[in-house]
């Protein structure tokens, strides 16, 4: 079934809706970019991530040292 013919109201409000849409996309980009920069500024970090990493356990030496 075809949609109704576009109402004249929708045409008039297009600029407003497009403006809000662009603003939201811009906001997402800004927040994403900011997050990337902020996370990068934390410096390198690592966790165990399901696998034990001997170099992260205090007092342990890695196999390369032996």
């Amino acid at each position: 079934m075809a949609f109704k013919v576009e109402h004249e109201l929708h045409k008039r409000r297009f600029s407003r809706n497009a403006g809000v849409g662009l603003l939201l996309v811009g906001l997402i980009c800004v927040v994403f970019g900011l997050t990337v920069v902020k996370v990068n500024q934390l410096g390198g970090f690592q966790g165990f991530d399901h696998v034990v990493r001997p170099e992260m356990i205090p007092g342990q030496t890695t196999g390369a040292d032996n």
Binding site: R12, S15, G19, V20, L34, V37
Partner: protein, 308 residues
């Protein structure tokens, strides 16, 4: 479709009308001065964080503009200069402006805090409060010193930019604040001298209305004389340099010359040449602020390239 749902197409708000609530022209000055404040600070900021800081300071300034338009809609409707603003023109309702102002205020302060530091966010929150509540609601309609106090709100952006970069306030930042703060009264009083009817009609207690035009001319000169040493002093701080000092000396000499000319004139002389002197002073005052901050930027660039 019933008659009740028929819209008047001419008065329906477009996106630009909502944007106009944020006072884009004021915002451009805020962006520029905040940018300079951030850039001349002795701490390097990641470009993305710097961009976000300027963006959120500008949004905060826009939010306070929307709150001001909501509160002052009655005055704006009376004055010719402001009658075309979205609320008096019937395009945006006062409630919408209030909602946008409040929402953007909260948004900008939180986002500035997250992207830079809490001190900068606190200063931005204070600036919005100062402009919307202290200036617009309390003082604008009750004292002829409204312009002086309102000037503080416009003077905060470079300070916030500086604090966003460094996390603290210092002499240079305070002097940048003082430069705009002391510049605002002569700038607006010169405008009030040749737009007298507007402020009279609106009943805003401008100095020209409450104390007369002679006193206003004296005040313009007094503030200009107080402004000059502050502007030059900034040139002797670590953010100053040869470009700024040269610009400050020339611009302030010219500004004092203009203020003296205004002070010497009376109304008969001013009306005879249609306020030529006052209009020229007002035009120059716009350039005055712009070249001072541009010179700070120039010196910062010279330092960055190791020239000075």
């Amino acid at each position: 479709m019933t008659d009740a749902t028929v819209h008047d197409h001419d008065t329906e708000a477009q996106f630009g009308d909502y944007f106009a609530l944020l006072k884009p022209r004021v915002m451009s000055l805020v962006v520029f001065t905040a940018f300079v404040g951030l850039l001349v600070a002795p701490v390097s900021v990641h470009p993305m964080i710097g961009f976000c800081a300027i963006l959120f300071i500008a949004v905060g300034a826009g939010a306070s503009g929307a709150l001001n338009m909501w509160w002052d809609a009655d005055i704006d409707a009376v004055m010719k200069r402001t009658a075309g603003r979205p609320i008096p023109a019937g395009k945006v309702t006062g409630q919408e402006a209030l909602a946008i102002g409040l929402a953007l205020s909260g948004f900008s302060v939180v986002m500035l805090g997250l992207s830079t530091n809490l001190a900068a966010a606190g200063l931005l929150a204070f600036t919005i409060f100062f402009y919307a509540v202290v200036y617009s609601m309390w003082l604008k309609r009750s004292t002829p010193q409204n312009i002086v106090i309102g000037g503080a709100a416009g003077a905060f952006p470079p300070l916030i930019g500086w604090v966003a970069a460094t996390g603290s306030v210092s002499l240079e930042a305070v002097l940048m604040f003082a430069l705009i703060f002391m510049w605002t009264p002569p700038h607006f009083w010169a405008l009030a001298l040749f737009l007298k009817k507007d402020y009279n009609n609106a009943g805003v207690p401008m100095l020209t209305v409450t104390h007369g035009r002679r006193v206003t001319r004296q005040h313009i000169l007094a503030y200009t004389l107080l402004l000059a040493p502050l502007a030059v002093w900034l040139g002797f701080t670590p953010i100053g340099g040869p470009v700024y000092l040269t610009v400050a000396l020339l611009a302030n000499a010219w500004f004092i010359k203009g203020a003296l000319a205004i002070w010497r004139r009376d109304e008969t002389m001013a009306e005879a040449d249609k306020y030529r002197c006052e209009k020229a002073f007002f035009q120059f005052s716009l350039l005055y602020l712009f070249v001072h901050f541009l010179a700070l930027l120039a010196d910062a660039s010279l330092r960055a390239f190791g020239v000075i």
